[in-house]
Amino acid sequence: MSTGLERSQPPVEVSEDELEALLGDRALARDDHLNAPGFVVRPDDVQSVLSDLKERAGFDHLSNLTAQQYEDRYESIYHLKKYADPTQEVSIVVPTPIDDPVSESAAPVFSTADWHEREAFDLVGIDYEGHPDPRRILLPETWQGHPLSLDYDQEKPQLVTLTDHANPIQPDHHDAESDTMFLNIGPHHPATHGVLHLETVLDGETVVDVDPDVGYLHRCEEQMCQNGTYRHQIMPYPDRWDYVSAGLLNEWAYARVAEDLADIEVPDYAQVIRTMGAELCRIASHMLALATFALDVYGDFTAIFQYGMRDREVVQDILEDLTGQRLMFNYFRLGGVAWDLPEPREEFIAKTRDFLDELPAKVDEYNDLLTGNEIFQVRCHDTGVLEPEAAKDYGCTGPVARGSGIDYDLRRDDPYGYYDELEWDVVTEPGCDNYSRVLVRMREVEESAKIIEQCLDLLEDWPEDEREIQANVPRTLKPDADTEVYRAVEGAKGELGIYIRADGTDKPARFKIRSPCFHNLSALPEMANGEYVPDLIASLGSLDIVLGEVDR
């Protein structure tokens, strides 16, 4: 079978024995994780173990860090993968005692650990020794306690100060020593794509330093999911992580991890529907990314933005027919989907085909308006440059990584759904700048259209008596205690992963979300330092972040 998906160079496999040999005495014990071999190491061995794995075994992608508290210990789990082959996974488990939760920071080895560990400190309360910037990240500085630790009291009042954002009516704090200016962008600003706050230091018009301040939309999603039962109560929440109508893609992340955990086999027919729905969502999401990017670069609310919204409206109509909802679809169920294609089926298929038929013309329009526009090219070429090495270091995935030439797409590299049976290509662009990220999204829309087309063919010809949309799933799911699993899917913005630890009840004991936007955003200083302010805005737009997913 040729799907046009083969990589140019097959990656080198590392066996578990080789890993054990590499870690040697530093591995204190083995830990059972469903898809990644786990090694327990001492808190002061973190850096050496991780750098060995990175340098000598090729695990160059720190995809997730989960921090959690047990009755008797704290635990940080570093989940490592390879950009060359994400099916090769290893987890490094670092237990720390309950009275002294200090562990060595991994930030010198992987830049992405910086934000990961700040979050782990913020929510769970583990201290990372040697961390370059040990501040809270999601909650306000004055927050008392760590909400995901076991002894946290939710009823306690909290204070939020305005110190960092001094009264704008106050006189300018001009520093006689230097010529730089401190400028707050956001959290209420039309170009920040929601409630993001950028603390920028400017020298004239050049950005000397930018520090993204997130957490203005931290809605306790992990806690919400930990309070819900596996079967039905968690599924509505993924819709609200990446709310730019990437709902089905997110739901798939949860569906995949929970199906892995509970060993549920999804019928092929449901997988095809899922694949089609997910790709429709990807189109809708990329359309909005494009529209808002034009808004950022041109300040253009009336033309390109409206074009993007027009096309999204069509996709949303189709998705509404399919799922019954406009934005928060809540359509996937564990083991399948909620219902079959809408009746009359032919009408739905015809409607979707119409959309696909019109798409090439629309793409041409976008090329005329946007990518072919000289001003746009001048604004985007060679601005916001993100070299592949830096992108990997920051854990970037999705169109951001592929815009830096990193050939990484979980739909192909860690196949799920029906993707490996279909003909399509992974899009990469070597430019590393804002322009290539836009191009990647534009071309991905076309690839998604290809996938949808094939799914429609399949759905149309599917034998009438085999249209099975749902596997047989027990009413209450109770995975065995201490089953741990991390699984990821390719969301619209990149690798969207979930770590779940079961404790034998019908609710997860720990539910950790690895959001692509969080890591893509952490690379912003890398892209924007030394550029002009408008290029900073363009770079931010090209990252296509959604604050709901950054803050969770």
């Binding site: 909650l139 204070l159 100060t161 009264n167 209420h188 929601g194 809605r219 306790c220 309070n227 919204m309």
Partner: protein, 235 residues
């Protein structure tokens, strides 16, 4: 000329088209501006009304919305402004990026503790009279995230709200309906009082001294502006 007849010859004229101009400078009022209402007024085109009533009518028909995106609802809000739904048709669709030029704030999303004071600042910067539409369940009560440790249980804890539009998220049609209802109320002069005191930020030193305040008193300046969230007593 009765308004039931076509007003001008469109076809078949080769004369330079000065009709329009002639009619403008000719006697009597311009045809184009004629209307049933005008006919009813007769020769005195004046209406007597109260100034307040007139101002309410004006306000209700030219609303400047603050371009304010928080969460999921803001996506539907964008759709409301964009083609197909086009809020502008209702005299309420000029999004302004600056709070100083806006008089309506649609709060589209979950307010969390860190964002609450910022939202209040933006609200304070809007000129009066100002109106607020609470969009979606989160803005009303915290919605699906109400149980969260960090989520403010409704924007009403921080700023006064005129109209609630329920839904998660409300469809654009629902938002339009909410805005239209708000306009109706403004025209009738029924909106909430604009100056609100209970929601002010406090100075840290003015807070009642409890365990938390005592603990923070060492690091925080007494003059700092703070917002205190009391999760236990929120609705």
């Amino acid at each position: 000329m009765s308004s039931n007849n076509p007003r001008q010859q469109i076809h078949g004229s080769t004369a330079p088209s000065t009709d329009t101009r002639d009619s403008r400078i000719g006697e009597g009022p311009d045809d184009r501006f004629n209307s049933k209402l005008r006919e009813a007024f007769g020769s005195t085109p004046f209406i007597l009304t109260k100034f307040d009533k007139f101002m309410n009518w004006v306000r209700g028909n030219s609303m400047f919305m603050l371009q304010f995106g928080i969460a999921c609802c803001s996506i539907e809000m964008m759709h409301t402004y964009a083609i197909k739904h086009d809020l502008d048709r209702f005299g309420a669709g000029v999004p302004r990026a600056s709070p100083r030029q806006a008089d309506v704030m649609i709060v589209p999303g979950t307010i969390v503790s860190k964002f609450g004071p910022r939202m209040k600042r933006v609200y304070d910067q809007m000129p009066e009279p100002k109106f607020v539409v609470g969009m979606g369940s989160c803005t009303i009560s915290g919605g699906p995230f109400q149980e969260g440790y960090n989520v403010v249980k409704g924007a009403e804890e921080i700023i006064p709200i005129d109209i609630h539009v329920p839904g998660c998220p409300p469809r654009p049609e629902a938002l339009i309906y909410g805005v239209a209802k708000l306009q109706e109320r403004i025209r009738n002069g029924e909106s909430t009082p604009v100056v609100v005191k209970p929601y002010e930020l406090e100075q840290f030193g003015d807070l009642p001294k409890d365990e938390l305040v005592q603990k923070l008193a060492d690091d925080i300046d007494e003059d700092d502006l703070v917002m205190r969230y009391n999760w236990a007593d929120s609705p």
